[in-house]
Amino acid sequence: MSAAQASLKTYFTVYALLIVGLAATVAVAFVHLGFWNLPAALAIAFFKATLVVLIFMHVKYSPRLTWIVVSAGLIWFAIMLALTIADYVSRSWIPERPYSVQPTEPQGLEPPRSFQTPGNKAAPTAKAQ
């Protein structure tokens, strides 16, 4: 129960900060930061979001349980995002040859012919028996 009410002044200062945040995020978009455009936009959005959550939604004055619920939502979204992106990022890493698990060369039978990719013009000729 949000017993303590934020004063009117706080509401209007938060509103002003939100408008400043809006102006900032639009301005930053026009500056070419290359890779850093996304983190900047996210940082401003998070700043505005924490303002709305803490003051407008009274989480600042709410019991500890509300804090846990809010952070649980954030953490679970982060889990989904992080582990999904982890797959897409690491798809192009090619695993190195595991040193110990060599395919056993079968003894007795004829060694595998060294098969070059079609790069060299000579088509791989079967060994003349």
């Binding site: 897409y88 798809r91 192009s92 595998p112 990719t117 088509a123 060994k127």
Partner: protein, 362 residues
């Protein structure tokens, strides 16, 4: 074709024993645990049944020693299984250097194979014994999955992206190939046969082909000329009028891009640069290459890539094809002129052009 009842599947590839050892170890561990739990349950149930009051039921104060010991024991054991399983999976994923590349195109309810010598097959695959085989697979419609139980290998075949799989057969014979990922009405009829032969039989079979199928790089070269790719990618040309990067020996080499990143040019990059050219433009070139999406079929793209691979620098063969994956988007060479439909020569094998291209305006 397994027609008779078996309790344990045949193992016919070099990787099969690795998987089987891990499986038998886990089987043994599970039997021990199940017997332990079952014995405890029956023992306590009978000993402490209500009727039996000759047994002492004084409670000992609760201590969580048992659980802590249990956790302390199970964490290292579980990590041991994880590492063993990961090592086996590494072996299953990384093809050896000298693998024979075979391209697989999966279509709703059939498998189409193409050997490096050009021989094409449907639903059956002939491979020599003791020869590592590297399959480069793509699907034309839904997700399928190339599953050969006796080789203990399985890999989904995706539309729009190459996936790789390799195995090395150790026993001649005829083995079952299944589609493991549900793909529609005849999913259960999309099976095939892997015929493992001795090198001599394989060579005879290879020679016995109708001979009309030329190797993919020759078909690729024809398609390359017919689509006038050479106007921009003129071999050996350089200087001002060079509108597209030269393709000699580009395969598996690092390529610098105009957005500052460098990437190795593998199959996925080459395929994407043919179908979506300006996704990743090479540094110093303009994104003016038109897309060939819809004009070239999957086989056509595979042949073009085979041709580009064959353009290795004189003398020094290209390194082997490696496992491609979804690239972060690299543009390729650009091309000035739109190929006009009229100049299409007729000798290109019809399967290389996608149906739309043949059937009229794409």
């Amino acid at each position: 074709m397994n027609t008779e009842f078996e309790l344990f599947p045949e193992a016919a590839s070099t990787n099969a024993p690795l998987v089987d050892h891990l499986y038998l170890f886990m089987l043994a561990f599970s039997c021990v645990m199940t017997i332990l739990v079952a014995f405890l349950v029956f023992y306590f149930a009978i000993k402490y049944r209500r009727g039996n009051n000759r047994v002492d039921r004084t409670q000992t104060p609760p201590s969580n020693r048992a659980e802590l010991i249990w956790i302390a024991l199970s964490v290292p054991f579980l990590m041991f299984i994880f590492v063993w399983g990961a090592r086996v999976c590494f072996a299953l994923v990384r093809p050896p250097q000298n693998a024979m590349p075979i391209t697989v195109v999966a279509k709703q309810w059939m498998w189409k194979f193409q050997h490096p010598e050009g021989r094409r097959e449907i639903d059956t695959l002939h491979i020599p014994i003791n020869q590592p085989v590297h399959l480069q697979m793509i699907s034309q419609d839904v997700i399928h999955s190339f599953f050969v139980p006796v080789f203990r290998v399985k890999q989904d075949v995706l539309p729009g992206r190459y996936t790789n799989e390799w195995f090395q057969a150790t026993k001649p014979g005829e083995y079952r190939l299944y589609c493991a990922e549900y793909c529609g009405t005849n999913h259960s009829r999309m099976h095939g046969r892997i015929i493992v032969q001795t090198p001599e039989d394989f060579a005879d079979w290879l020679a016995g082909g109708t001979g009309s199928e030329e190797p993919p790089e020759v078909a690729g070269q024809k398609l390359f000329e017919q689509l006038q790719c050479a106007t921009c990618h003129r071999p050996g040309a350089s200087g001002a009028q060079q509108r597209g990067p030269s393709l000699e020996g580009v395969y598996q080499q690092p390529v610098a891009l105009n957005n500052g990143r460098t990437i190795t040019a593998d199959d996925a990059y080459l395929r994407e640069s043919i179908l979506r050219p300006t996704a990743k433009v090479v540094a110093g070139f303009q994104p003016i290459m038109p897309t060939f999406e819809g004009q070239v079929s999957e086989e056509g793209v595979l042949n073009l890539i085979a041709y580009i691979k064959s353009l290795g620098k004189q003398g020094e063969p290209n390194p082997p094809p490696s496992k491609g994956g979804v690239r972060g988007g690299i543009p390729d060479a650009s091309k000035s002129k739109e190929p006009s439909g009229a100049t299409r020569s007729s000798q290109v094998p019809s399967s290389d052009l996608s149906p739309e291209a043949k059937g009229g305006t794409p």
